[in-house]
């Protein structure tokens, strides 16, 4: 996707990265107001600080003189941060007055933003609001004077689970039910939760817990692997160490695995180790045994032969004639 930025946006960005005079990159030490918005995992984050000229009696008449930003983000996020600071400094606003600046003003200042980049301007407006709150606290100004709906901030729909995309427990649980989401990838695909930093997947109270809670712990059965019964005829497949009075028609996958394991421990591994080699079983599917040769067998030209002659022959003799050994 090619860039569709206005000349103004491009100019502000290039001026900022080259640190031209008049740009607003930086951070004010011990500021009068500090606000942050976004996070690195979301793909953009902004730290906004300002300095005021203090009014000797009435803090609400403080005037913002300097505004600075540090931004992690794309071209338009950085340009929007420049726009925010410029708008504030040029307007000689009081902090409360600065709240009049909306994200639309930032968009206008930039001569427009591509639709999918509007969030960059929202980030500016949000950081400004946070900084003004911060100023009010520092200066002892009653926040109710700020004309903001403070309660909206507090009325969070429950605990935040996906912090990257700001999605709450209540919301995610509702969506798991509504959309019949069965796994974490399902949730991510449907509502983006857990799609960025992924830190909420398996933490306590995270997405997996919510899934378990809504669907029941084994609700989707996804973790249960279906194993195939290994049908081993009793006669020639009996281990030779056992007496032939014992006739069984089939081995369960567990018993089959145990016998393979034992045959390897007793007959195969000692022989391999004599030559400095070793082996591990990676998987067993029906009568297919997947092995990885290790030690000096690794990369040995005769490894394939060893597997067939030694491992497969032994297992065929001791466990089941149908066994095939496959080298990983």
């Amino acid at each position: 996707m090619a860039w569709e930025y206005s000349e103004k946006t491009k100019q502000l960005f290039m001026d900022a990265v080259h640190g031209k005079p008049g740009t607003h990159m930086g951070e004010i030490e011990d500021p009068d107001g500090l606000g942050e918005h976004g996070s690195i995992s979301c793909g953009d984050a902004l730290r906004f600080t300002f300095r005021v000229k203090r009014h000797p009696e009435d803090p609400t008449k403080d005037v913002i003189t300097t505004a600075r930003y540090l931004t992690f983000g794309c071209t338009s996020a950085i340009a929007a941060s420049e726009a925010l600071c410029a708008l504030i400094e040029q307007g000689h606003h009081t902090p409360i007055g600065a709240l009049e600046i909306r994200n639309e003003d930032i968009v206008d200042y930039l001569d427009g933003l591509p639709e999918q980049k509007i969030h960059c301007s929202v980030m500016g407006a949000e950081a400004l609001e946070a900084a003004v709150f911060n100023w009010a606290k520092r200066r002892g100004v009653d926040v109710s004077l700020l004309g903001l709906d403070v309660s909206a901030e507090e009325q969070e729909e429950g605990r935040l689970v996906c912090k990257c995309f700001s999605l709450s427990e209540t919301y995610i649980k509702r969506k798991i039910k509504e959309l019949d989401l069965r796994s974490i990838p399902d949730i991510t695909n449907a509502i983006k939760a857990g799609g960025a930093c992924m830190s909420c997947h398996h933490t306590p109270g995270g997405l997996q817990d919510l899934l378990d809670e809504v669907r029941g712990r084994d609700g989707n059965g996804a973790e249960l692997k279906i194993l195939h019964q290994v049908d081993v005829p009793g006669t020639e497949s009996q281990p030779r160490s056992q007496t032939d009075t014992q006739q069984r028609s089939a081995l369960s996958p567990y018993q089959f695995g145990k016998q393979v394991e034992r045959a390897i421990e007793e007959n195969v591994r000692p022989m391999l180790q004599r030559d400095g080699g070793d082996m591990e079983i990676v998987d067993i599917k029906d009568t297919l045994i997947y092995c990885r040769l290790g030690g000096s067998c690794e990369g040995c030209a005769g490894a394939g032969k060893t597997l067939k002659m030694l491992v497969e022959r032994t297992l065929k003799d001791r466990v089941d004639e149908r066994i095939r050994v496959i080298q990983i």
Binding site: M1, W3, K10, F13, M14, A16, V17, H18, G19, M25, E27, E36, H37, G38, S39, I40, S41, C42, G43, D44, A45, L46, R47, Y69, L70, T71, F72, G73, C74, T75, S76, A77, I78, Q116, K117, E126, L160, K163, C164, F165, S166, P185, K192, G195, A196, C197, M198, H228, V282, D283, K285, D286, L288, Y290, R292, R324, I326, I328
Partner: protein
């Protein structure tokens, strides 16, 4: 300003020789190869010769196993849907989490239609685990579709081994590989190292043929129903009048790739390695995505921590350098690249990736220019980053805490 094109995994310039080979078929030799008259027969013969040459490139003695399509996306669709249609009894497909959308989205479409799809994950270098692969194979597995080389990181999967494991487990499972990024760069012998591969897709525009031509290898006897239904072209397996000039161009491009293969690979690897090494020396806090895995010789995917990729691309383009990024801001969605996320790239670095990919037309001077410009671009953005300490040119001591904070 001259352009330095370092985005060859996206597309490549058409080779002048390819242009020359195509030219007659855009002008005088315009005939429909299906027509009966003499000039059309010549056109049909040209296509046959091209098909034979392409088959020869992969050491195939039966040229009919090569099917011409419009692009790799079509080849992938034709392969996956074609196999599904041919064997409706099996309903399980294995693929990886890092496939190109032309495979990933097709698999997800099968999933929406009731298929069970296993998406294999990768480790932090981008490698698949052979044990996990084996465990995913099931009695009802229809198809395995795993890319040969990854377009974003260049990581190469061991197709030789995976195809063999598949066929040794159950010869009825069809093995498909999307080799779009590797054809011409890595040796592929469909009678030799790739003998267990049933289906292989690639396209022309990644190897200096034009956009709009792709191919699909279908091993003889592979159950795969036609995807594009129409005329009798391609033995009835893909309808549509043959794209004659582009087919000729594709054959020429493969001929060029084969002719200079070893020199080219050595040249690409030396440019890429020098770029990687120098950038690693000059820029603190970078991560080479896929650096610990076998990789294509031409691809470097480098993440710079604590900055965002789109702003880097913009500055690169101001210097005439074309590259790409896996950052969310370049993807058109809110999420960074699915490949980098599958590698579990730390979220401080996942937005800051830039991919440089070279071709035979790049020069050491291009590499010099990137080396000159890129570290400054990174420094420019880090000066603006709330997580970077500019005095010490290192992450701020409290960066870890800061990145934990949200809103």
């Amino acid at each position: 300003m001259s352009v330095i094109y370092a985005d060859n995994n996206a597309t490549t310039p058409v080779a002048p020789e390819v242009c020359e080979a195509m030219r007659p078929f855009l002008t005088d030799e315009y005939f429909n190869p299906s027509s009966m008259y003499e000039p059309a027969r010549r056109t049909a013969e040209a296509i046959n010769a091209a098909r034979e040459q392409i088959a020869g490139f992969f050491s195939l003695d039966e040229p009919k196993q090569i099917l011409f399509t419009s692009c790799a996306t079509e080849s992938n669709n034709a392969a996956i849907f074609g196999v599904a249609k041919a064997n409706p009894a099996r309903r399980h497909v294995i693929t990886t989490a890092v496939e190109h959308p032309a495979v990933l989205e097709v698999c997800k479409d099968l999933q929406r239609n009731g298929y069970d799809v296993t998406f294999l994950g990768v480790d932090s270098d981008g490698n698949l685990d052979a044990g996990e692969f084996v465990r995913a194979l099931r009695p009802d597995t229809l198809l395995v579709t795993v890319m040969h080389a990854n377009n974003e990181t260049g990581v190469v999967f061991p197709i030789e081994q995976l195809a063999r494991l598949t066929k040794e487990t159950d010869p009825a499972i069809i093995f498909h590989t999307d080799a779009t990024q590797s054809v011409g760069k890595l040796p592929i012998d469909l009678q030799g190292n790739f003998q267990h591969v049933d289906l292989l897709s690639f396209s022309g525009h990644k190897l200096h043929a034009p956009k709009g031509i792709g191919a699909l290898y279908i091993k003889r006897g592979t159950p795969c129903r036609p995807f594009l239904i129409g005329g009798h072209q391609e033995g009835g397996r893909r309808g549509g009048t043959e794209n004659v000039p582009y087919i000729i161009g594709l054959a020429k491009a493969l001929e060029l790739a084969a002719a200079n293969h070893e020199d080219e690979v050595a040249q690409l690897a030396s440019m890429r390695d020098r770029l990687q090494q120098t950038l690693e020396e000059r820029i603190p806090c970078v991560r080479i995505n896929g650096g610990g895995a076998p990789r294509l010789p031409n691809t470097l995917n480098i993440s710079s921590h604590y900055i965002e990729g789109e702003g880097m691309l913009y500055q690169l383009s101001e210097h005439g350098i074309c590259a790409s990024s896996g950052s969310a801001c370049t993807s058109g969605s809110l999420e960074p690249s699915h490949v980098l996320r599958a590698l579990n790239v730390p979220f401080t670095a996942v937005h800051g990736s830039v991919r440089f990919s070279f071709s035979r037309y790049n020069t050491e001077a291009d590499v010099d220019q990137i080396i000159d410009v890129f570290p400054r671009i990174v420094a420019n953005l880090r000066r603006l980053s709330p997580y970077w300490d500019n005095q010490n040119n290192a992450p701020r001591p409290d960066a870890d805490q800061l990145v934990g904070e949200t809103h």
